[in-house]
Protein backbone atom coordinates (compact mmCIF):
# COMPACT_ATOMS: atom_id res chain seq x y z
CA UNK A 1 0.00 0.00 0.00
CA UNK A 2 1.34 3.39 -0.97
CA UNK A 3 0.49 6.48 1.05
CA UNK A 4 1.39 9.88 -0.30
CA UNK A 5 2.29 13.32 1.06
CA UNK A 6 4.62 12.29 2.49
CA UNK A 7 5.12 9.21 0.35
CA UNK A 8 5.54 5.99 2.29
CA UNK A 9 4.68 2.33 1.91
CA UNK A 10 3.08 0.09 4.49
CA UNK A 11 2.03 -3.54 4.35
CA UNK A 12 -1.25 -4.64 5.91
CA UNK A 13 -3.03 -7.97 5.76
CA UNK A 14 -6.50 -8.45 4.37
CA UNK A 15 -9.26 -9.08 4.01
CA UNK A 16 -10.27 -5.66 5.17
CA UNK A 17 -12.85 -3.17 3.94
CA UNK A 18 -11.69 0.23 2.67
CA UNK A 19 -13.56 2.01 5.49
CA UNK A 20 -11.82 -0.15 8.10
CA UNK A 21 -8.45 0.47 6.48
CA UNK A 22 -8.89 4.24 6.66
CA UNK A 23 -10.08 4.03 10.25
CA UNK A 24 -7.10 1.92 11.19
CA UNK A 25 -4.75 4.46 9.61
CA UNK A 26 -6.72 7.31 11.23
CA UNK A 27 -7.34 8.96 7.87
CA UNK A 28 -10.48 11.06 7.32
CA UNK A 29 -12.35 9.53 4.37
CA UNK A 30 -13.31 13.02 3.16
CA UNK A 31 -9.65 13.84 2.57
CA UNK A 32 -8.49 10.96 0.34
CA UNK A 33 -9.23 8.77 -2.65
CA UNK A 34 -8.48 5.07 -2.47
CA UNK A 35 -7.13 3.74 -5.75
CA UNK A 36 -6.75 0.07 -6.67
CA UNK A 37 -5.02 -0.47 -10.01
CA UNK A 38 -6.20 2.34 -12.23
CA UNK A 39 -9.59 2.96 -10.69
CA UNK A 40 -11.23 4.11 -7.49
CA UNK A 41 -12.86 1.94 -4.86
CA UNK A 42 -15.70 2.79 -2.49
CA UNK A 43 -15.61 2.27 1.27
CA UNK A 44 -17.54 -1.00 1.26
CA UNK A 45 -15.05 -2.80 -0.99
CA UNK A 46 -13.15 -5.72 0.53
CA UNK A 47 -9.39 -5.52 0.07
CA UNK A 48 -7.22 -8.60 -0.09
CA UNK A 49 -3.57 -9.42 0.59
CA UNK A 50 -2.56 -9.23 -3.08
CA UNK A 51 -4.16 -5.82 -3.71
CA UNK A 52 -1.89 -2.85 -4.28
CA UNK A 53 -3.60 0.23 -2.97
CA UNK A 54 -2.76 3.91 -3.15
CA UNK A 55 -4.28 6.27 -0.63
CA UNK A 56 -4.10 9.66 -2.32
CA UNK A 57 -4.73 12.86 -0.39
CA UNK A 58 -6.97 15.33 -2.18
CA UNK A 59 -6.62 18.33 0.13
CA UNK A 60 -4.53 20.98 -1.51
CA UNK A 61 -3.85 24.53 -1.57
CA UNK A 62 -2.69 27.70 -0.27
CA UNK A 63 -4.83 30.72 -0.03
CA UNK A 64 -3.97 34.36 -0.09
Amino acid sequence: MVLRNPRREVELHGPMRVHALLERLEINRESVLVIRGDTLVTGDIQLHDEDEIEIRPVVSGGSS
Partner: protein, 300 residues
Protein backbone atom coordinates in the same frame (compact mmCIF):
# COMPACT_ATOMS: atom_id res chain seq x y z
CA UNK B 1 -22.33 0.01 -3.50
CA UNK B 2 -24.30 0.64 -6.69
CA UNK B 3 -24.44 3.68 -8.95
CA UNK B 4 -27.47 5.79 -8.08
CA UNK B 5 -28.25 6.31 -11.75
CA UNK B 6 -27.58 3.05 -13.58
CA UNK B 7 -27.12 0.49 -10.73
CA UNK B 8 -23.69 -0.58 -12.05
CA UNK B 9 -20.96 -1.01 -9.38
CA UNK B 10 -20.01 2.41 -7.97
CA UNK B 11 -16.43 3.71 -7.99
CA UNK B 12 -17.07 6.75 -5.80
CA UNK B 13 -19.39 7.60 -2.96
CA UNK B 14 -20.38 11.22 -2.40
CA UNK B 15 -21.83 11.25 1.07
CA UNK B 16 -23.34 14.74 0.90
CA UNK B 17 -25.48 13.55 -2.01
CA UNK B 18 -26.10 10.22 -0.25
CA UNK B 19 -25.10 8.58 -3.53
CA UNK B 20 -22.58 6.39 -5.28
CA UNK B 21 -21.70 6.71 -8.96
CA UNK B 22 -20.07 4.51 -11.59
CA UNK B 23 -17.35 6.12 -13.71
CA UNK B 24 -19.51 7.37 -16.57
CA UNK B 25 -22.37 8.60 -14.37
CA UNK B 26 -19.89 10.39 -12.09
CA UNK B 27 -18.28 12.20 -15.03
CA UNK B 28 -21.75 13.21 -16.21
CA UNK B 29 -22.68 14.31 -12.69
CA UNK B 30 -19.53 16.48 -12.54
CA UNK B 31 -20.35 18.17 -15.85
CA UNK B 32 -23.91 18.78 -14.69
CA UNK B 33 -22.72 20.37 -11.46
CA UNK B 34 -20.46 22.76 -13.38
CA UNK B 35 -23.23 23.55 -15.89
CA UNK B 36 -25.58 24.31 -12.99
CA UNK B 37 -23.05 26.63 -11.32
CA UNK B 38 -22.45 28.44 -14.61
CA UNK B 39 -26.18 28.88 -15.20
CA UNK B 40 -27.19 29.71 -11.61
CA UNK B 41 -24.61 32.47 -11.30
CA UNK B 42 -24.57 33.64 -14.94
CA UNK B 43 -20.83 32.92 -15.12
CA UNK B 44 -20.30 32.42 -18.84
CA UNK B 45 -22.50 33.79 -21.60
CA UNK B 46 -22.79 32.69 -25.24
CA UNK B 47 -19.87 34.05 -27.24
CA UNK B 48 -17.63 34.64 -24.21
CA UNK B 49 -13.95 33.81 -24.61
CA UNK B 50 -12.72 32.16 -21.41
CA UNK B 51 -9.19 31.88 -20.07
CA UNK B 52 -8.85 29.16 -17.44
CA UNK B 53 -5.97 29.55 -15.00
CA UNK B 54 -4.22 26.17 -15.08
CA UNK B 55 -1.82 25.28 -12.29
CA UNK B 56 -1.30 21.67 -13.35
CA UNK B 57 -3.25 20.52 -10.28
CA UNK B 58 -6.45 18.48 -10.18
CA UNK B 59 -8.91 21.36 -9.93
CA UNK B 60 -7.78 23.50 -12.83
CA UNK B 61 -7.19 20.54 -15.16
CA UNK B 62 -10.62 19.10 -14.31
CA UNK B 63 -12.15 22.53 -14.90
CA UNK B 64 -10.41 22.95 -18.25
CA UNK B 65 -11.56 19.49 -19.33
CA UNK B 66 -15.17 20.02 -18.24
CA UNK B 67 -15.42 23.46 -19.88
CA UNK B 68 -14.13 21.96 -23.12
CA UNK B 69 -16.69 19.15 -22.84
CA UNK B 70 -19.39 21.79 -22.33
CA UNK B 71 -18.29 23.45 -25.61
CA UNK B 72 -17.11 26.63 -23.91
CA UNK B 73 -14.61 28.66 -25.98
CA UNK B 74 -11.73 28.19 -23.53
CA UNK B 75 -7.92 28.38 -23.55
CA UNK B 76 -5.55 27.61 -20.68
CA UNK B 77 -3.08 29.93 -18.97
CA UNK B 78 -0.13 28.52 -17.05
CA UNK B 79 1.93 30.78 -14.81
CA UNK B 80 5.36 29.45 -13.82
CA UNK B 81 5.97 30.41 -10.19
CA UNK B 82 9.62 29.44 -9.90
CA UNK B 83 9.04 27.00 -7.03
CA UNK B 84 11.78 24.54 -8.10
CA UNK B 85 10.88 20.98 -8.99
CA UNK B 86 7.26 21.54 -7.94
CA UNK B 87 6.80 24.18 -10.64
CA UNK B 88 8.65 22.06 -13.22
CA UNK B 89 6.30 19.12 -12.62
CA UNK B 90 3.21 21.35 -12.55
CA UNK B 91 4.13 22.93 -15.87
CA UNK B 92 4.69 19.49 -17.36
CA UNK B 93 1.17 18.39 -16.37
CA UNK B 94 -0.40 21.52 -17.87
CA UNK B 95 1.55 21.15 -21.14
CA UNK B 96 0.83 17.41 -21.35
CA UNK B 97 -2.90 18.06 -21.08
CA UNK B 98 -2.76 20.74 -23.78
CA UNK B 99 -0.71 18.52 -26.10
CA UNK B 100 -2.88 15.45 -25.64
CA UNK B 101 -6.12 17.34 -26.19
CA UNK B 102 -5.04 19.82 -28.84
CA UNK B 103 -5.90 22.67 -26.48
CA UNK B 104 -4.25 26.09 -26.49
CA UNK B 105 -2.07 26.88 -23.47
CA UNK B 106 -0.81 30.43 -22.95
CA UNK B 107 2.33 30.47 -20.79
CA UNK B 108 3.79 33.11 -18.53
CA UNK B 109 6.82 32.71 -16.30
CA UNK B 110 7.17 34.83 -13.19
CA UNK B 111 11.00 34.67 -13.00
CA UNK B 112 11.57 35.15 -16.74
CA UNK B 113 8.77 37.61 -17.53
CA UNK B 114 8.49 39.60 -14.31
CA UNK B 115 11.86 39.10 -12.65
CA UNK B 116 11.28 37.18 -9.42
CA UNK B 117 10.15 33.81 -8.11
CA UNK B 118 7.64 33.19 -5.30
CA UNK B 119 10.12 32.03 -2.63
CA UNK B 120 12.31 35.11 -3.19
CA UNK B 121 9.40 37.50 -3.60
CA UNK B 122 7.73 36.32 -0.40
CA UNK B 123 10.95 36.51 1.61
CA UNK B 124 12.02 39.93 0.40
CA UNK B 125 8.56 41.45 0.64
CA UNK B 126 7.98 39.77 4.02
CA UNK B 127 4.73 38.29 2.85
CA UNK B 128 3.48 34.74 3.42
CA UNK B 129 4.32 32.75 0.25
CA UNK B 130 0.64 31.99 -0.44
CA UNK B 131 -0.11 35.70 -0.17
CA UNK B 132 2.63 36.72 -2.63
CA UNK B 133 1.53 33.90 -4.93
CA UNK B 134 -2.17 34.82 -4.84
CA UNK B 135 -1.42 38.48 -5.40
CA UNK B 136 0.80 37.70 -8.40
CA UNK B 137 -1.73 35.30 -9.89
CA UNK B 138 -4.67 37.71 -9.57
CA UNK B 139 -2.71 40.48 -11.27
CA UNK B 140 -1.11 38.44 -14.04
CA UNK B 141 -4.20 36.35 -14.86
CA UNK B 142 -6.22 39.51 -15.35
CA UNK B 143 -3.46 41.15 -17.37
CA UNK B 144 -3.16 38.09 -19.62
CA UNK B 145 -6.93 38.03 -20.14
CA UNK B 146 -7.03 41.73 -21.05
CA UNK B 147 -4.04 41.38 -23.38
CA UNK B 148 -5.50 38.29 -25.04
CA UNK B 149 -8.98 39.73 -25.53
CA UNK B 150 -10.68 37.26 -23.19
CA UNK B 151 -13.99 38.12 -21.49
CA UNK B 152 -13.64 35.84 -18.49
CA UNK B 153 -10.96 34.36 -16.21
CA UNK B 154 -12.07 31.02 -14.74
CA UNK B 155 -10.27 29.56 -11.74
CA UNK B 156 -10.41 26.09 -10.20
CA UNK B 157 -11.59 27.12 -6.73
CA UNK B 158 -13.81 24.31 -5.51
CA UNK B 159 -16.37 23.93 -2.72
CA UNK B 160 -13.65 23.03 -0.18
CA UNK B 161 -11.58 26.08 -1.09
CA UNK B 162 -14.53 28.44 -0.82
CA UNK B 163 -15.82 26.92 2.42
CA UNK B 164 -12.32 27.16 3.96
CA UNK B 165 -11.88 30.80 2.91
CA UNK B 166 -15.35 31.60 4.23
CA UNK B 167 -14.53 29.83 7.50
CA UNK B 168 -11.39 31.96 7.90
CA UNK B 169 -13.19 35.17 7.00
CA UNK B 170 -15.97 34.44 9.49
CA UNK B 171 -13.53 33.53 12.26
CA UNK B 172 -11.96 36.97 11.93
CA UNK B 173 -15.13 38.75 10.73
CA UNK B 174 -13.26 40.14 7.75
CA UNK B 175 -16.33 41.92 6.46
CA UNK B 176 -14.65 43.51 3.43
CA UNK B 177 -13.59 40.04 2.23
CA UNK B 178 -17.00 38.55 3.03
CA UNK B 179 -18.53 41.25 0.84
CA UNK B 180 -16.72 40.03 -2.23
CA UNK B 181 -16.48 36.31 -1.62
CA UNK B 182 -18.71 35.45 -4.55
CA UNK B 183 -18.55 32.80 -7.28
CA UNK B 184 -18.67 35.59 -9.88
CA UNK B 185 -16.97 38.97 -9.76
CA UNK B 186 -18.31 41.15 -12.55
CA UNK B 187 -16.09 42.90 -15.06
CA UNK B 188 -15.29 46.53 -14.54
CA UNK B 189 -12.55 48.95 -13.50
CA UNK B 190 -10.03 47.24 -15.77
CA UNK B 191 -10.87 43.74 -14.55
CA UNK B 192 -12.41 41.02 -16.69
CA UNK B 193 -15.16 38.89 -15.16
CA UNK B 194 -13.82 36.28 -12.72
CA UNK B 195 -15.71 33.03 -12.23
CA UNK B 196 -15.40 29.87 -10.13
CA UNK B 197 -17.37 27.16 -11.94
CA UNK B 198 -16.26 24.35 -9.56
CA UNK B 199 -18.04 25.70 -6.48
CA UNK B 200 -20.53 22.82 -6.55
CA UNK B 201 -17.77 20.16 -6.60
CA UNK B 202 -15.58 19.16 -3.66
CA UNK B 203 -11.86 18.61 -4.13
CA UNK B 204 -12.28 14.87 -3.62
CA UNK B 205 -14.53 14.98 -6.66
CA UNK B 206 -12.14 16.99 -8.85
CA UNK B 207 -9.33 14.56 -7.96
CA UNK B 208 -11.62 11.61 -8.74
CA UNK B 209 -12.59 13.24 -12.03
CA UNK B 210 -8.93 13.42 -13.09
CA UNK B 211 -8.16 9.84 -12.00
CA UNK B 212 -11.21 8.48 -13.84
CA UNK B 213 -10.50 10.54 -16.96
CA UNK B 214 -6.81 9.57 -16.98
CA UNK B 215 -5.68 13.17 -16.57
CA UNK B 216 -2.17 13.29 -15.10
CA UNK B 217 -2.05 16.06 -12.51
CA UNK B 218 0.41 17.41 -9.94
CA UNK B 219 -0.36 15.20 -6.95
CA UNK B 220 2.24 16.61 -4.60
CA UNK B 221 1.36 19.51 -2.33
CA UNK B 222 3.02 22.86 -2.97
CA UNK B 223 6.04 22.96 -0.61
CA UNK B 224 5.33 26.61 0.18
CA UNK B 225 1.79 25.85 1.41
CA UNK B 226 2.73 23.24 4.03
CA UNK B 227 1.24 24.00 7.42
CA UNK B 228 -0.63 27.11 6.35
CA UNK B 229 -3.81 28.33 8.00
CA UNK B 230 -5.99 27.45 5.02
CA UNK B 231 -5.07 23.76 5.29
CA UNK B 232 -5.96 23.87 8.99
CA UNK B 233 -9.40 25.23 8.14
CA UNK B 234 -9.87 22.44 5.60
CA UNK B 235 -8.95 19.80 8.16
CA UNK B 236 -11.44 21.29 10.64
CA UNK B 237 -14.20 21.38 8.02
CA UNK B 238 -13.47 17.80 6.92
CA UNK B 239 -13.75 16.64 10.52
CA UNK B 240 -17.22 18.25 10.63
CA UNK B 241 -18.14 16.89 7.19
CA UNK B 242 -17.20 13.37 8.26
CA UNK B 243 -19.71 13.57 11.12
CA UNK B 244 -22.32 15.49 9.17
CA UNK B 245 -22.11 15.13 5.37
CA UNK B 246 -23.32 18.21 3.51
CA UNK B 247 -22.06 20.69 6.11
CA UNK B 248 -19.59 22.40 3.78
CA UNK B 249 -22.20 22.82 1.06
CA UNK B 250 -24.76 24.15 3.53
CA UNK B 251 -22.19 26.54 5.05
CA UNK B 252 -21.08 28.04 1.72
CA UNK B 253 -24.34 28.12 -0.20
CA UNK B 254 -26.24 29.22 2.92
CA UNK B 255 -23.82 32.13 3.16
CA UNK B 256 -24.37 33.09 -0.49
CA UNK B 257 -28.13 32.82 -0.12
CA UNK B 258 -28.70 34.35 3.31
CA UNK B 259 -25.70 36.35 4.48
CA UNK B 260 -23.59 37.55 1.57
CA UNK B 261 -25.87 40.52 0.68
CA UNK B 262 -25.41 41.88 4.22
CA UNK B 263 -21.75 42.50 3.49
CA UNK B 264 -22.18 44.02 0.03
CA UNK B 265 -22.03 47.63 1.31
CA UNK B 266 -18.52 46.97 2.69
CA UNK B 267 -17.33 45.75 -0.70
CA UNK B 268 -19.03 48.61 -2.56
CA UNK B 269 -17.45 51.16 -0.24
CA UNK B 270 -14.04 49.68 -0.94
CA UNK B 271 -14.69 49.71 -4.70
CA UNK B 272 -15.56 53.40 -4.55
CA UNK B 273 -12.14 54.21 -3.09
CA UNK B 274 -10.28 52.63 -6.00
CA UNK B 275 -8.01 54.65 -8.23
CA UNK B 276 -5.59 53.67 -10.99
CA UNK B 277 -2.15 52.43 -9.90
CA UNK B 278 0.44 55.07 -10.80
CA UNK B 279 2.62 52.39 -12.44
CA UNK B 280 0.41 49.80 -14.11
CA UNK B 281 -3.05 51.38 -14.10
CA UNK B 282 -4.66 48.53 -12.14
CA UNK B 283 -7.37 49.77 -9.76
CA UNK B 284 -6.03 50.04 -6.21
CA UNK B 285 -6.81 51.73 -2.93
CA UNK B 286 -3.29 53.19 -2.70
CA UNK B 287 -1.16 55.18 -5.10
CA UNK B 288 0.79 52.11 -6.21
CA UNK B 289 -0.92 48.69 -6.31
CA UNK B 290 0.20 45.81 -4.09
CA UNK B 291 1.56 43.84 -7.05
CA UNK B 292 3.78 46.70 -8.26
CA UNK B 293 5.06 47.15 -4.69
CA UNK B 294 5.83 43.42 -4.52
CA UNK B 295 7.66 43.55 -7.87
CA UNK B 296 9.71 46.54 -6.76
CA UNK B 297 10.81 44.90 -3.52
CA UNK B 298 11.38 41.47 -5.04
CA UNK B 299 13.60 42.82 -7.80
CA UNK B 300 15.55 44.75 -5.20
Amino acid sequence: MKCRRCRAPAVIEIRRHNAGFCRDCFLRHSREQVRKAIDDFDMIRPGDRVLVAVSGGKDSLALWDILRDLDVDVDGLYLGLGIGEYSDDSGRCARAYADEHGAKLVELDLPADVGFDIPTGARVARRAPCSACGLSKRHLFNQAAVDGGYDVVATGHNLDDEAAVLFGNVLRWSTEYLGRQLPVLPAGNGFVRKVKPLVRLGERETAAYCVLKGIDYQVEECPMAAGNRHLGYKAALNAIEDQSPGSKHAFYFGFLDKASPLFTPEAVAEQEQLQACARCGTPTTGEVCAFCRLVERARG
